[in-house]
Amino acid sequence: MTVVLGIETSCDETAAAVVDDRFHVVSSVIESSIDQHRAFGGVVPELAGRAHVATIGPVVARALLAAGLDLHRPAIDAVAVTSGPGLIGSLLVGLSAAKAYAMAWGVPFVGVNHLEGHLFAPLLEQADLEWPLLTLLVSGGHSMIVLQSGPGDHQVLGESIDDAAGEAYDKVARWLGLGYPGGPEIDRLAQAGRAGALKLPVSMTGADYDLSFSGLKTAVVRATEKHGDVALADVAASFQAAVCEQLLRKLRAALEHYDVAGVALAGGVAANSALRLGVGELAAEFAIACHLPTKEMCTDNAAMIAAAGLYRLAADGPSPMNLSASPNWQLVDVP
C-alpha cells in the first residue's frame, strides 16, 4: 500500500495530511492564519508567509503523530505538496518543507496543482464514486465548471472571466461593512432576508459555461446607494440568490449537454447553504449522484493534495528537486 504525506500552504491555511492509496484519510490537520487577516479585509500575503513558516513544522508533526507514524522514520512512500496556483510567498514555504522531508526520509516528492486537489476531494469521501462527474469548483480564487471523466482526467468547460464567486462575496461583504471572509456572514444574513428585495442583473446569459461576478458586485453597490433603506438581510439574500442563479443556470446547461453519473461541489464556496440546496435539487431532477463535501473538504486541506499527489505520482512520476512554485498554474495546463 502506498501512503502519502500531503502538504498545503497556498493561501492562509497551513495543512498536512496522511492519505493511503484507497483514498482513506488517515489524518488531516489544518491551521489557519485567518484571524491575522480579518482586520485587513483580505489575506495579506506577507502575514500569510510569516505564519506558514512558523506553523508548518508543528502541523506536519501533528499529522504524522495522529497517523501513528514516527516523525524520523515514518512509513510513508512520498510527499505531495501544492506547488501552485496560490500566493508565491506561501507556496514556497510548503514546497521547501516538502522537498526537505522527502530528502530526509529518502522518498520521492511530487508537486500538485491546488485546483486538481479540490477535484480529488469527492474521492476522499466516497472512494467508489461513479464517473463522469460535473464539478462546480467555487472558491475565493476560482470559479469553474469542470467535466471529470475520471480521476486526473478533467476538462474545464467554463470559468469566471473576472472575479471568483468567493471574491465577490468578500467584496460585497466589505461594502456592507460585514466581516471577512464574507461568505459565511452573507450566507447567515441571507437566511432572514427576501431574495426579491433588490433587482440585480443575471450575468452571463450566453450559451457558453463561462461565469462573471464583477458586474453583480457593482450592481449591489449601485442598488444600495440608490435605496439606502434596504435591510442588510435583504441585500444579502438578493445577492446570494443572484450568485446561485448564475452558477446553477450554467450547471444545468452543462447537465443538459453532458451525460454524467454525478455532480459535485468543491472549494470554499461549496459551504454555502443556498448553493448546496440548489445543487442537490439539480442532482435529484437529473436523477444522478450528488457529492456535497463536508465542511473540512470545502476549505483548503492537505488530504486532497495527498490524493491528487497519489494520482500524479503514478501517472507522471516524481517531481525534480529544482521544482519551483507556479503561482498562476492553470488547471488546463495540468500535468
Partner: protein, 226 residues
Amino acid sequence: MNIIAIETATAACAVGVRTSGGVEVTRVVDEHRRHTESLMPGVAGLLEECGLTARDIERVVVDRGPGLFTGLRVGIATASSLAQALGCGIVGVTSLELLAHGARDAGVRGTLVSAVDGRRGEVFVQTFRLGDSVEPVGPPEVARPRNVVIEWATNGAPVTFSGDGVGRYCSDFDAVPNGTVFAQSVPSVHAALALGGSRGPGDTISPLYLREADAVANFSTRERSP
C-alpha cells in the same frame, strides 16, 4: 559531527558541508534569487561530493537573516524540516554576524559595519569589533544607507563596511572619509559551519525580519472601498 549550512538571506543561495572527518565544501549555487530551485539540488550535490547521505547529517545551520523575506523563509523552512525529520539539532545564525566573521577570517580588524540590502532604500546593519573574536557593538537595525554614511563620516573613526547593502549603495559608502569597503556580498558559509559546530542547538528557528509586514505598517492609512 557532520554539519550542513544553508544560506539564503541575500540574492545568492549558498550551501556548505563539513564532515566529521574534517572535509569542508562550500558553494554559491545561485546568485539570482532562485533559492527554491537551487537550494535542494545544491544540498544534494554537496552531500554526494562529501560521500554523505541526508541521514548522516548531525546538525543543520541556517542563516535566519535579516535579509530577503522570501529567501529567509525558503532557507528556514528547508533547514527546520530537515532537522525535524532527521531528529538532529539546528542552529540559527545571523547574516550580519556571518559577514563580520567572513571579514575577520579574511584579515580585517577593528570596527566593521555589516550591511545587508533590505530593499526599499534601506539596509539592515550591525556594528562589530573584530579582534581575537567577533563582538557585536550594537543590535541589528534597519537604516537608510545615507544615515549610516553620515553617522560614520561624522564619527571619523576608521571603519570597514561589508555586505550586499554596501555593494548596492557603494557610491554612498565610498564617500566615508575613514571608511574602507570590504567586498563581500554573500554571508560566509564557512563561518556558519564553524559557528554551527560550536554553539548549542535550539528548538525552533524563526526569521529575523526586523520589519513589520507591509499591511500592518500601512493599515492606519488604508482606505476601505468596494
